[in-house]
């Protein structure tokens, strides 16, 4: 039996890597009492499969994990009312939150079925994000210098960009956030009980975002690469990336791998889903 989880990774824990995240999950599933099936062989490992790796340093409210569970020992009732999601969130480090859980049909790895993802990048202060989006969309080609297998390459990444638009950054809504989920000042305040740096807070609240739908076929465009194209003059330090959706094709239309029937959860994180303009659906 396959259990699919959608989870958020926000705040300080965004600095953990993909392998770190896998280990964190293995432990959390054990402390959370989920009877994950072990692989056969000399070194049995829990049978888990993750979707597209999230780059270290990027946040997400749309991460996925498939776990093969022992149907005999798995209490599917837990799925009702979010009891299982709550239990797992409690077993995970601060910053990881389970947003949805469901039993799905086995077959089809997440990595293969996801065709595009949506990223939100914080723009440098006072950037006209709509103009940036227009510039990139209008370009005939977007050459990007990369190193691949030790060789310098120049790739045209324009075909990887499905849609771009500007969005309002909600990261300024600090009061909506539990500890550890801020853009800096708020989580500092929560952690230490002292007042954070006010100027950083204001700075944060004033920023807008670039929302990008990016194809996952081929090499894929990493958020840092997109940021370099979109904001070539910005210091890398200032750009923050958050994955908000992973999309699969369903009869020619795209849909979210797992939709959130419980929008309250996202709102509680201060990480409301970005509304995708109708024009970009199915593109």
């Amino acid at each position: 039996m396959r259990l699919r989880l959608r989870y958020a990774k926000l705040g300080k824990v965004r600095f953990t890597g993909h392998r770190d995240t896998a280990r964190i999950w293995e432990r959390a599933l054990r402390t959370g009492g989920i009877p994950v099936v072990l692989s056969a062989g000399f070194t049995p490992r829990p049978r888990l499969s993750f979707g597209l790796a999230l780059p270290t340093g990027a946040e997400s409210v749309a991460e996925y994990l498939d776990a093969d569970v022992d149907a005999q020992r798995f209490a599917a009732d837990d799925l009702d009312g979010g009891a299982l999601a709550d239990r797992l969130s409690a077993a995970l480090p601060d910053g990881f939150t389970v947003l949805a859980a469901a039993v799905v049909e086995p077959g089809g790895s997440l990595q293969e079925t996801v065709t595009s993802v949506t990223w939100e990048l914080t723009a440098p202060a006072d950037t006209d994000v709509s103009a940036v989006a227009a510039r990139l969309l209008d370009a005939a080609a977007l050459p990007l210098a990369r190193v691949r297998k030790g060789h310098d390459r120049l790739d045209d990444v324009r075909p990887d960009i499905v849609a771009l638009r500007s969005g309002a950054d909600r990261r300024g809504d600090q009061l909506l956030r539990p500890p550890g989920f801020g853009c800096g000042a708020a989580e500092t305040q929560a952690a230490t009980g002292v007042t954070g740096d006010r100027s950083a807070r204001v700075h944060c609240a004033n920023r807008s975002t670039l929302v990008a739908d990016v194809a996952t076929t081929g090499r894929g465009l990493r958020p840092a690469e997109l940021a370099a194209l979109a904001f070539p003059d910005a210091e890398a330090l200032g750009i923050r990336a958050r994955r908000t959706h992973q999309w699969i094709d369903h009869d020619g239309r795209r849909r979210e791998v797992m939709t959130l029937d419980d929008a309250v959860r996202l709102a509680s994180l201060g990480a409301d889903q970005v509304v995708v303009p109708a024009g970009s659906a199915g593109a």
Partner: protein, 669 residues
Amino acid sequence: MTALWTRVEPLLALVQKPARYIGGEDGAVSPRHAPGKVAWLLAYPDTYEIGLPNQGLQILYEILNERADAVAERTYAPWRDLDELLQRHDVPLFSVDTHRPAGDFDLLAFNLSSELVFTNVLQMIHLAGVPVRAEDRRPEHPLVVIGGHSAFNPEPLADFVDVVVLGEGEEVVGEITEVVGAWMRGGRTDREAVLHELTQVSGVYVPSMYDVTYDGPDLLAVTPRYPDVPATVDKRTVADLGEWPYPKRPLVPLTEVVHDRLSVEVFRGCTRGCRFCQAGMITRPVRERPAEQVRTMVADGLRRTGYDEVSLTSLSTADYSDVTDVVAGILADRAVSAPGCSTTVNLPSLRVDAFTVGLAGQVNSGRRSGLTFAPEAGSWRLRNVINKLITEDDLYGAVDAAFEQGWSRMKLYFLTGLPTETDEDTMGIAELARNCVSLGQRRRGNRASVTVSVGGFVPKPHTPFQWFGQNTLEELRRKVSVLRAAAHKMRNVHLKWHDPAAAVAEGIASRGDRRIGRVIERVWRDGGTFQEWGEHFALPRWTDALAAEGLSLDWYVHRHRTRGEVLPWSHLTAGLHEDFLWDDWQAALTGSGVEDCRWTPCYDCGVCTGYGIEHVVSSPVPPAGGSQGTGQDLSRGGRRPAAVATPDEVSVNVALGRRFDATPVGVGS
């Protein structure tokens, strides 16, 4: 007091492994600082991956945070990339728990597990924004404290630290907290006053309260500056480990660390008496944790952390007197609490005999890829010298049992440059490895292989070998090359060695006096941090610094010390009588070993009698399989089993193929 996270956070986008710096581990706390609370910053002067699992640091972190009058946070040495960024952006060293500036703490306390981290201590003090030299610090600066095994000769760091703690910290950290707390309440004005007061705490050594006199290169005396300052400082020892079931909330890192599993300490101390081993000498006597407590700590720890692997830690875990029962209990508990889970029990520091291999086989449910033993010396003669009394019979018996039970790769650790070592002994390492391979081939065919790992021996303070002149770099390299030439011709024998150059630097720092402090400062100023990391180590930094200070490498490292000579640590004691150490050194030179003193008459090393404590054992009888020659006929220790004896050797009546007695663990008492 502003937390530094907002300034650290953007820098983390630019460094390797940023998860090293975020804290947030399960078990971590965000303590509430308050004016009445003494704030400790517990520092590990190496990377997070190496420092996070350190049990000493985790224990003190928890004990201090349980106190109403203290808070404790942690910090680790920032890797060079972040180190540079911190300095460029003028951000000080910070705690990982709440990202508080290191300079805002009242004590900056380092855990030292090796001498090569000394330069990192200086760098971390510097990054904290605190003057590196103790004499330049003012009352508002944190008190810089060191403890841990490598603090047993703190003299090379005497100019840079305020307070040294000798021995175990569980009790003494509370006493230090009280003294420092009273000083803070009194206005925190006179730094000298609190340091003087701290000399009254047993186990605490304050270097600045002592004068040192020399005659040319010779150290004449280290004398207290005030009548109430003790002339000799004794280590602290916890009498009963059962009263300290820590850590209760083990730290579970969010990123990969060197020992990424639960650790439960089953005993402290070691009485096997290996003469090269500083840890074994300075942690006496043996104090075993009650078996029932071990079992509870393992069960609670696994449930709490979600780990599926536990290490039962100590200096020689198979010597734990209740080891079979405890292991059986752990596996039984897991079968009930986590059905379907695969749980691995690790027994590090394996004793070399077939019993131990059998035990390892029963607890290791995973792939049997490699098993590690540490015979330390290649010949029975030399093992008598170093008092690691593994008979040839036990050694080959262990290896054969391991191959028989499914392991195909064996890793053997050795030291070279040991006292009285001849080329015959060195070559004995290669011969031993070849014999192991030939045993393995009978069981595992061509898959059987042996990896030999060789390190250069560095004599350590408070051991019988503290008087021994360390081999020169040339001599160590020659021995390694002799071994390489021999191993090169041997099928399925792989040789690994550490560059002996690091052993030279370690030798300088290990037995140095206060004058070596200037050498360490030069190495540090020259950029010589992370000296345990091959890519950052360069011996010329050390030898050039010695030369610049007009000090002699030969005098500090390669010279044999004489009896009666004042050693830099003569005024500090781990409870071992100097007579005992000297007599043991003389016994070493005649090649005679002594048995484990837990089960044999006392050799009067001084620790139990001096501190009024005793060995605490969990079971009244020695563990199965014996312990360090106990009950064995050592006169036959050098005889090889027939299977590996050369034709001209006397064959003895030992069946090499004997099976480990496969009684299930847990059956019996």
